[in-house]
């Protein structure tokens, strides 16, 4: 295959229009699995949460989990979907060792929820992403390939399968194609997944943690010349963070534009995203479409959600996050620009919680969008992945407001918290960061500075108050910065007046 020259993103955008689509899988946080009574605890010893049903033993039969059906309908309602009055499970047939029955019990042409939308706000503008369907299915087990250097199946001497995850309820949310986002397509993709995550988290039906795999995203991307038919799409898998969603679309746009520029065609295939390089590589070709031989699952009865019950579930749907953002913006008195920086940084929940813990909006914004954003960026992680809680941030600010630490000490305290040394209060105590406020000790330091710098002291006595800065610096140096500069200045001036 020829290696096409990769154009810049801007040049790709000047020639092509992207169409994206997202398929998101969310593991529901139900107490038991989709079709049996096994627990769903994350991180249990391999093959300890299994039974004849989720192991697919001969003779075993599924029974659908009512809590999972309710959660799926609530997700559908939160995404403004129509809830089907008649829905069925279907078998998706294919062979894979971590799939116990060699078919996945899923939904095909009769899903629980269809035709919805999710509004996402991007730079103050609302973009409507249409939802094609929301359906319920079961997760597969997990394969572990042993003996190879890469942990991949090639080169491995053998594979182990953990069936704990097999049968955990999984909701799949499929968008309709999103066209017209132009150069913003990567950001729209990220904003959509962020909003979806927030909606689902607000519903309380999943912990939606991308890094633990309880939310997983497949991103479809295609390019076309303006006005032309949509192009051939690729499906990028293994997109495991919000940032990766954006990067995957970005990188796939550049890759496809390079091929199209070189006159090549796009192959319909599955591609894998690599966090380290930010690139996608070719997976399985989909040109010879896998035939899943779907048919209605005969071991389960059709679902016919009662209209009155669905209506009663509507009352349990929380305020849509985008509406909430407008409400918060008003309450916080922020401009569109200020609010969208918070949204873009994925800091709405964090700042809300920090404010709830007693900080001012201003202080919460300062920390999360300033120092903490820098650190997250440097570590290449999301803000919420930093090991600091909103309560910690509020506590840190309270220490500053009380004059117990200054800004410089606060940054050191922050470092301690991020390093896992405890709460800000604990870090300040353990590292001895508190400002020197004891007037005796501080007075002695000031006296020493005056004695060491008689010329400067003389200037101050003569009324040249600006010279006090040099003495403040000397005191700060001798107290290793643990003094409040303003207090030091006042002390010097009073001693030399």
């Amino acid at each position: 295959m020829t290696v096409a020259h990769a154009p810049s993103y801007e040049s790709a955008m000047s020639s092509y229009e992207p169409v994206i689509g997202l398929e998101t899988h969310v593991e529901l946080g139900t107490r038991t699995k989709m079709f049996c009574g096994c627990p769903t605890e994350f991180g249990a010893e391999p093959n300890t949460q299994i039974c004849p049903v989720c192991l697919g033993l001969p003779g075993a039969l599924p029974v659908a989990n009512a809590a999972a059906i309710e959660a799926t309908i609530r997700i559908g309602l939160a995404l403004n979907c129509e809830i089907a009055s008649w829905s069925r499970f279907a078998r998706k047939n294919y062979f894979y060792p971590d799939m116990p029955k060699n078919f996945q019990t899923s939904q095909y042409d009769e899903p629980l929820c269809v035709n919805g939308y999710l509004d996402v706000v991007l730079d103050g503008e609302t973009v409507r992403v249409e939802i094609e369907r929301v359906h319920l299915e079961e997760d597969t087990g997990k394969s572990l390939h042993v003996g190879g250097s890469t942990g991949r199946i090639h080169g491995a001497t053998h594979s182990l399968v953990d069936y704990n995850r097999a049968g955990i309820p999984l909701v799949e949310i499929v968008t309709k194609p999103v066209a017209g986002a132009g150069a913003n397509a990567p950001q729209v993709a990220k904003a959509y997944v962020t909003e979806l995550r927030d909606v689902i988290r607000a519903l309380g039906v999943s912990d939606v943690r991308m890094e633990q795999g309880s939310m997983r995203c497949d991103v479809n991307t295609s390019l076309n010349r303006p006005g032309a038919q949509w192009g051939t799409r690729t499906e990028t898998k293994n997109v495991n963070s919000l940032r990766s969603v954006e990067r995957a679309v970005h990188s796939e746009i550049i890759r496809q534009a390079g091929l199209l520029d070189a006159g090549e065609r796009i192959i319909q295939e599955t591609r894998h995203f690599h966090e380290d390089t930010g690139q996608t590589t070719s997976g399985r070709s989909k040109e010879e479409a896998t035939d899943y031989r779907y048919f209605p699952e005969p071991d389960l009865v059709p679902l016919a959600p009662d209209a009155a019950w669905v209506e009663s579930l509507k009352a349990t749907i929380p305020e849509p996050p985008s509406v909430r953002i407008r409400r918060l913006q008003e309450a916080w008195g922020l401009t569109d620009h200020e609010m969208s920086s918070i949204v873009n940084a994925g800091a709405v929940e964090l700042i809300t919680a920090t404010v709830e813990s007693g900080a001012t909006v201003e202080a919460a914004r300062k920390w999360w969008l300033g120092e903490l954003a820098r650190r997250a960026n440097a570590q290449d992680v999301e803000l919420e992945q930093l090991s600091i809680t909103p309560a910690h941030v509020a506590e840190l600010q309270a220490l500053v407001d009380a004059g117990r630490i200054n800004d410089k000490l606060a940054r050191q305290a922050l470092e301690g918290v991020l390093a896992g040394e405890g709460s800000p209060e604990q870090v300040v105590a353990a590292r001895g960061l508190e400002v020197v406020s004891d007037s005796g000790a501080l007075g002695a330091a000031v006296d020493a500075a005056i004695a060491d710098n008689p010329d400067i002291a003389a200037k101050i006595r003569d009324g040249k108050l600006a010279a006090a800065g040099a003495l403040v610096g000397a005191v700060m140096k001798s107290t290793k910065g643990q003094a409040d500069a303003k207090t030091v200045r006042e002390l010097i001036l009073s001693k030399l007046s």
Partner: protein
């Protein structure tokens, strides 16, 4: 009276009254198995230890003055497609040889609770696919009436065991006729309950939307007693019925007086005539005449969609089977072939399935895979489901005019071993009469109704869904009338 010639009802009474011990009963049946089963090959596995322990427990419970459950001490032969904890379960397939399940099927738990003593596991066509038990990976079963003929299938091990006095009761499973046809050709009673009346949890699936377990007995009452023990809602089976089960035992007792006044019997036009053995047609006609004499009104009823049952069945059952049998992949249980440390997973799966499945199973997996494939689904599986709906409508219309429908159970008497093994279409034709009730999910029973050249003929009695009791009532009447006509019970004409 010899324990092996007693009915289940008689054994339960005798054990309850202390006239005979459960152990004696079990031992007598094991003795019979030892003496005849090398020839019949009805059993694949005997659970002598488990059965005798269960019998002893019943005897000591009785000695302690405890009230015994309804069928305490009655031995039973269990089709080896029903999962039994700690007892090998093979579905008569090499691919499962040696598999010892970690759990009991729901009906096994129910039978143990009813005091039934499970003697062992019986032979069948591999994964219940066949009509002669010749598709077993472990050798064919022979018909006790004539050792050169088949006992029917797929539940041929169970029918032969009951007809051969190895057990008074047996469990079979019926997907397209696999209880009724073996019952007919071995001269015993076999009932396919309404779909969902008996739990499928622990029944190794062949065709999920058709499979039903049901009872075999030498008498209608015995079959009803076993039906009562296994029926009822099971929360582990989503397709299990929640409606209360009809009182089939009372119906069997009521029917025995052979007074059918007020009952309308419909004779299905499409299930008879050309292609049916003359002796079978004659025995069935004679029985219908007797029903009329017993007070029933007899009417001819046409069910035109029944002609398409065979085609629909051979799309639906293989389609579901192709998916159900995918789990036999060498990964978690059963046979594993070719795992030499070099072969890929796909190669091991492929070699295992090649070596582990027999020819008929492969034929149906391929047929079903094709019928479900993209672009063919509507023409095959989808169309077959429509035929199924039409068949159900024919039944509904028919039952507006009559209480039960009758037909021969099988177009022929037991056919010779080997006669049809190379002719799948001829083999499939054995189920012509039983397929409509399977596709409609409605209950149907086969009851011995006469002899054709010394071999038994069965009458099929079909009723509306949930009305299993009607099958038993009419079957009990047929039993009484046939015994009277032949001078003794039909099975007593067996030279076995």
């Amino acid at each position: 009276m010899q324990p092996i010639t007693m009915t289940a009802a008689q054994i339960a009474d005798a054990v309850a009254q202390g006239q005979i011990s459960a152990r004696e009963v079990a031992q007598a049946h094991f003795d019979q198995i030892a003496s005849v089963d090398t020839e019949l090959n009805a059993f694949l596995t005997l659970d002598t230890e488990g059965a005798l322990a269960a019998a002893d427990a019943i005897d000591s419970a009785r000695a302690d003055g405890e009230k015994l459950p309804a069928l305490a001490g009655v031995p039973l032969a269990l089709k080896d497609i029903i999962v039994t904890k700690d007892v090998e379960t093979t579905a008569a397939s090499k691919i499962l040889k040696g598999w010892v399940p970690p759990y009991d099927a729901t009906i096994v738990r129910k039978m143990r609770a009813a005091g039934i003593v499970v003697l062992g596991k019986t032979n069948l066509d591999e994964f219940a696919m066949g009509s002669s038990t010749e598709n077993s990976a472990f050798g064919a079963t022979r018909n006790p009436w004539d050792r050169t003929r088949t006992p029917g299938g797929s539940s041929g091990g169970s029918s032969a065991a009951v007809a051969g006095y190895e057990a008074p009761l047996a469990i079979g499973t019926d997907t397209g006729g696999s209880i009724r046809q073996p019952a007919a050709v071995t001269g015993i009673v076999g009932h396919k309950p309404t779909y969902g009346a008996v739990s499928r949890y622990g029944l190794i699936a062949f065709s999920s939307s058709l499979d039903q377990a049901g009872p075999f007995g030498r008498t209608v009452l015995d079959a009803a007693l076993l039906h009562e023990a296994i029926a009822g809602h099971d929360p582990a089976d989503s397709t299990s019925l929640t409606a209360p089960a009809p009182d089939v035992v009372a119906a069997a007792r009521e029917g025995a007086d052979a007074d059918l006044t007020g009952l309308t019997v419909g004779v299905v036009t499409e299930l008879g005539g050309a292609g049916y053995e003359a002796g079978v047609s004659a025995a069935v006609a004679a029985t219908i005449a007797q029903l009329s004499n017993a007070g029933a009104k007899v009417v001819e009823i046409s069910c035109p969609s029944f002609d398409y049952a065979l085609g629909a069945y051979y799309l639906i059952a293989p389609s579901e089977a192709s998916s159900n049998l995918a789990k036999f992949d060498a990964v978690r249980f059963g046979l594993r072939v070719g795992d030499n440390g070099v072969a890929s997973l796909e190669e091991v799966m492929s070699q295992t399935r090649d070596a582990g499945f027999g020819a008929e199973v492969k034929r149906r997996i391929i047929l079903g895979t094709y019928a479900l494939s993209s672009g063919y689904y509507d023409a095959y599986y989808g169309q077959a489901q429509k035929v199924r709906t039409l068949i159900s409508r024919d039944f509904s219309k028919a039952f507006e005019q009559c209480d039960v429908l009758v037909s021969p159970t099988s177009p022929t008497v037991a056919f010779p071993l080997g006669e049809r093994v190379d002719d799948p279409m001829a083999m499939y034709a054995a189920d012509l009469c039983t397929l409509p009730a399977s596709l409609a999910g409605t209950p149907a029973i086969s009851v011995p109704c006469g002899l054709s050249e010394g071999l038994p003929v069965g009458l099929q009695v079909m009723a509306p869904a949930f009305a299993d009791d009607r099958c038993y009532r009419v079957a009990a009447a047929v039993e009484t009338l046939t015994t009277a006509a032949l001078g003794k019970p039909l099975l007593a004409h067996s030279t076995f």
